[in-house]
Symmetry: C2
Subunit: 742 residues, 2 copies
């Protein structure tokens, strides 16, 4: 069995296997548990029928020992084109496209060729959407389809190989690279890389400035804090614009309006929509709100569980490293780190699972709202695990250590119980470790990042190796090779081996990558004033990160389904929150630690509550004002995306207007020109009036008949103007008389 | 000359004059200065020609002594229909309308009849827009048209009469009333009344609750402050939604996207738009930004001028009322009030004029941006004049009086200079007036409101009366009646008299009315915790205000040009600002004054800076969190307007989809059904493969040929499934063996 880790070897036979996907759109991995063979068979028949009815060609091969692989492709080109055209039309109706697709389908497709991502996305929708909407209605792991393990597209290894190769030689991604990613993996993944790219580019500034600040200003510089805060605002506002820009360039602006229904959504009742008459599935929003309120206890529980764990480890650590002075000190110091390293991921995983369950319970109609709600929860989780420790050091340990440390004697008492002698443990005089905060920040921004990177790359690799070995051993140990009446044909052998490997890989989840970046941004925003080199560390880290993420998608995971997206979604508000919070923490840190006139116990002396609060208020509101100003300025800039949109809209408008109205807009009411019009005298007018009264003209008609044509109006107007002079001169005389009298 | 103030008398002759507008669309009041008769005449000829060329019928009559009245109407019905249709099409193109107007113009107009407001608006545009866009290009008081005083539509007095009559008998406006206002005066005015109505309705709550709080909780209750703050959030969020809702109902959502160019805009150069190829007028945004920065010194100057005036009056007042104890005290007390009453409006008017000039200097392309920038400036002005006094009392006078009062002796010294005796003025011991704050708030929320109302109604009335009398006297004193060769015809006499009166009225400016309401909202949000009855006072005031505003539009002013609007525009952000600031001032006031444990000098004792700041921070952030929550909840609600929009969009989408795609979407790739497909055996398959290799089929083709049709896939799948069992049982055996060994 070929291992994907080795896929870019020089083996020509493998190259062949990788060079073609045999025209397969999707592979369905179908589990057949030995004990439920009959049901699995029945469901299998249904599955193939459903696929065939929808218009898929199917092939089946054996997969792992207890699974089948079903290969599907859209059988009729016409069906595919129809789908694409229909979705593009829908895009236009929802305002995502500006110009309607050409009525001539063939011409249209020539003008706007189908990308691989689009084709795969629509095919996937065709497989999964309900039957009454024209799909096959196959939802993995649900109901009838509980044996369907996954539905996944195959990697385009030729592309991946080039991508990785090219990328390791250049520093940054340009627009073309992003478009390539988008064409292959869809906008959702492309948005992640675009974000990573923009963020990394922006990081150059805090890296350079941070380095300078580290040399010249030292720690806790208010100047650094202000510049850093400005930078977060600038980056956030830039990205908000860039995001819209990219969405327009990629033709997906507003794509989130077309919501993907969540198949797991459970409705209370079906009701006719009062608006559209459509039959819609309804779930009471109030019930959902009630369930959403469970987030509050959830958040509190997270704070309690993770917080108490972090607090106790923190306390133990302080006790051991700064009070305890007995034997084994050098080993005991590691206890809290070990505890944390062991428990935090476990608890995190557990709580994430719980968050997932809560989100499912909230029962959202659409994928997007589900995802957003989930992201919100894991953001809380990550906030606690990532930042709580530093918060404790900065705002509890250093200022209040003298007050709190005596309580740590509880450890002493506890420890004494376990020592045979019962005599007091050797301690030393407590001293606040002034470098603790700095060390902690360095740990989180350097060490933890490296550890994380290693885990991300190495662990899945090791996992796969082990897994593979186990399987091989199992197979070897079986007394005879499994009976396979249908051996892989020679032509397909490598291809099938490769597909089997891909089927065994994990699903790619972009959320994890976003989370990592957002948490990183948080360190920069919240705490980099403690250690200005933070930016440098992140810059290096992200260069590797981008490449390791690419590798992860290309080799480490199954090819993701190329979903669309028009922004980085819920993470945007997380960034906003962290940027805002940064203004508060930075100002507080600067005020607390800037003076360096630390008391004998290391705690900052002469801290005044009201000055601290005033500093925070001032910094926060300065931040908000600057944000408004930056927004205003950014709005003034003309972005290429918006320009493109305007151009398209203008063209469409012009076409349509010309089409429906032609050039007859300037049709001037004829006969109203200035020329013509008979000479008028008072007699003529009076005559007219007399005539009018005889003919019983209405007042209105008479009014408009008095001056026929513009020429007459002009004539009479002239007369009236000449009169004005007379009246005016009369008045002038009067005024002159009056002034003479006075 | 009939006076509009008397128009609703029972004089039948007048009734006739009021019942018809003679089909006039617009009246142009044309000034003819006696000294510039020749130029005026030439320009007049041009004017009539321009109007005629565009398609207007014209009639001219004499106006006031030195002016002409030019009556215009669109001459050809077809031109009007064309205009309307074109603008509706434009609306559709910009996404303001959801469904395109019917291609058959006649049918379309029957389906959606033209409202008076629409007709008048488009006619006005036709008169004013540049010639190259098909208009007459007449811009009042500018360039060639400097003699054009105003261009105004005539009041529909039949409607106005009914409107006022109906309104004096009912309490609140319903949607129909608003639609009527909109149909006559346009959306901009209708939005003001809608806002006033919503605000007044919402006021019922703070009025009732405020009354209860006044009885039960007293002043400076934290409970009142919280409820009041919640109310401001609720109202603001409600209005934001309501506004969108109304815009949809009135079919103007997004109307602000079609910007009305400002004729006064001066461009630096004309350039081809890189996007549209249109020739656009360009003014450097950076130059504008530079000019916008002048706002900062302007704001500072306002603060300095108005602030120092208010401060000095404040100081004088305190000196006289609370320190000075000599003769004439009862009269001297009024000095500061007199100074303020005399100077504030004067200064305000001056500064408003200055703000207007600044805004003109900023040189905006569009009416909307000009208006928004202007509103921003007058908001600053009004903020200072309205609230600064109370701020001073609450946050300077009461807490710091003891510190500051000694400085007031400067007045004493000054005053001594002017007294002959030179002996010290009689003073009394200074005491902080604990009721000062309350009295001041009552003054601003009751007295000032009444005074304002009176001024608004009475002053223009008196002004007109005086003006009229002066004119009559002038006319009488002239030795002979002005020579008018064209006396008004008997039929038109009353009509023309009425038009002449309307021409002499002021322009209606909705900004002033908005300003009043926003300032009022500010008192409620910022200071009502001082005096909870504030809400009651405003409720009563607004009932009268709504009616007096209606009277103002109907009788007191010229009929406004019925502009469109899709929101209350820049005032929205003023409301948001006041609501937010309210959370801060209320919490600060409650903390400072709640305890009532005032020291002997009346200043709140035991005020701690950090507690005050913490209170403010807490209140502000609570406010922000609540705002986010309320927004979230409001977003969940389904509003009639949004529902209507969805319904229309759905219908349009459905129609278009059916039109272009028909019912052939479900065309299933035929021949892929489950039926059919030959019986397959292994031999047949191998045979097939052999054949394939002979015919040189590609691997891909061969792959998809192996199972032809779904039936074959099912058959083979079944075989594979049966195998799974065997393999699994093999493995089971192995595992069993292993476990036996262990």
């Amino acid at each position: 069995m070929a291992h994907l880790g080795d896929i870019y070897s020089r083996d020509p036979k493998q190259d062949k296997a990788l060079s073609s996907n045999f025209g397969v759109d999707y592979v369905i991995s179908y589990k057949v548990p030995a004990k439920e063979k009959a049901e699995a068979e029945a469901a299998f028949v249904q599955l193939i029928q459903a696929l065939a009815d929808t218009g898929f060609a199917t092939e089946v091969r054996h997969g792992d020992n207890d699974s089948l692989l079903i290969f599907t492709k859209i059988a009729s080109e016409k069906l595919l084109i129809n789908q694409i055209y229909r979705y593009r039309l829908q895009d236009w109706l929802y305002g995502i496209r500006i110009s309607a697709p050409d009525k001539d389908q063939a011409k249209h497709l020539q003008e706007e060729p189908v990308t691989e991502a689009e084709r795969l996305r629509l095919t996937y929708l065709l497989i999964t959407k309900p039957k009454n909407e024209g799909g096959a209605g196959i939802t993995a792991k649900q109901g009838t389809w509980k044996y369907v393990e996954t539905i996944f597209p195959l990697h385009d290894h030729t592309f991946n190989k080039n991508w990785i190769k090219e990328w390791s030689t250049k520093y940054s991604l340009d627009d073309n690279d992003l478009i390539q990613i988008r064409d292959r993996f869809g906008e959702k993944v492309a948005f992640y890389f675009a974000f990573l790219q923009s963020y990394s580019t922006f990081l150059v500034f805090p890296a350079a400035f941070g380095f300078a600040a580290w040399l010249l200003l030292g720690q806790f510089s208010w100047f650094y804090a202000i510049v850093n805060s400005l930078w977060t605002v600038a980056f956030f506002e830039y990205w908000k614009v860039k995001e819209v820009d990219l969405a327009i360039q990629w033709g997906v602006r507003g794509a989130s309006k077309i919501q993907l229904p969540r198949p797991q959504f459970q409705y209370e009742r079906e009701a006719q929509d009062p608006v559209t008459g459509e039959l819609v599935k309804v779930y009471s929003p109030w019930k959902r709100l009630q369930r959403q309120l469970l987030q509050v206890p959830f958040a509190l529980a997270c704070v309690a569980v993770l917080g108490s764990l972090i607090c106790s480890c923190f306390a133990i650590e302080i006790f051991i490293s700064e009070i305890y002075n007995g034997p084994f000190k050098q080993y005991l110091t590691f206890i809290p780190t070990v505890i944390l390293t062991a428990l935090i991921p476990t608890l995190s995983t557990f709580l994430t699972g719980f968050a997932e369950k809560l989100t499912v319970l909230e029962n959202y109609e659409t994928q997007d709202s589900h995802q957003a709600a989930f992201v919100q929860k894991i953001f809380i989780l990550n906030f606690i695990t990532s930042y709580l420790g530093i918060f404790l050091t900065a705002f509890v340990y250093v200022p209040f250590a003298r007050v709190l440390v005596p309580y740590l004697s509880v450890f002493q008492t506890t420890a004494q119980r376990f020592t045979a002698s019962g005599k007091p443990l050797p301690t030393k005089q407590f001293e606040v470790d002034a470098n603790r905060l700095t060390n902690q920040v360095i740990y989180f921004t350097v060490t933890a990042q490296i550890v994380n990177l290693v885990l991300e790359v190495v662990v899945p690799f090791v996992k796969r190796k082990v897994f593979k070995t186990v399987k091989e051993v199992q197979t070897e140990m079986s007394s005879k090779k499994p009976v396979t009446r249908y051996q892989d044909s020679e032509d397909e052998k490598e291809f099938l081996a490769r597909v089997r490997t891909e089927a065994s890989l994990d699903e790619y989840d972009v959320t994890i990558d976003y989370r990592e970046m957002v948490v990183q941004f948080g360190y920069l925003s919240l705490f980099s004033v403690v250690w200005p080199l933070t930016g440098c560390s992140f810059l290096v880290n992200n260069w590797i990160e981008a490449r390791s993420d690419a590798l992860k998608i290309a080799i480490g995971n199954r090819r993701p389904i190329p979903w669309r997206a028009d922004s980085i979604g819920p993470w945007l508000s997380s960034l906003a929150f962290l940027s805002w919070l940064g203004s508060i923490t930075s100002s507080a840190l600067v005020y607390l630690f800037h003076n360096s006139k630390r008391g004998p116990d290391g705690s900052p002396s002469s801290v005044r509550g009201w000055v601290l609060l005033l500093t925070i208020i001032f910094a926060e509101h300065l931040y908000l004002v600057v944000q408004i100003l930056v927004r205003y300025m950014v709005a003034k800039l003309d972005r290429p995306g918006l320009q493109k949109e305007r151009a398209e809209r203008f063209a469409m408008r012009k076409n349509l207007l010309e089409e429906s109205l032609g050039q007859d807009l300037t049709e001037q009411a004829s006969g109203l020109g200035v020329t013509g019009g008979e000479k008028i005298t008072r007699e003529a007018l009076e005559e007219e009036q007399r005539r009018a009264s005889i003919h019983g003209q209405s007042h209105e008609e008479a009014f408009w008949q008095r001056q026929r044509g513009a020429a007459e109006t002009i004539q009479i107007g002239r007369l009236l103007i000449s009169e004005v002079g007379q009246v005016a001169s009369n008045q002038t005389t009067i005024q002159a008389k009056q002034s003479m009298k006075a």
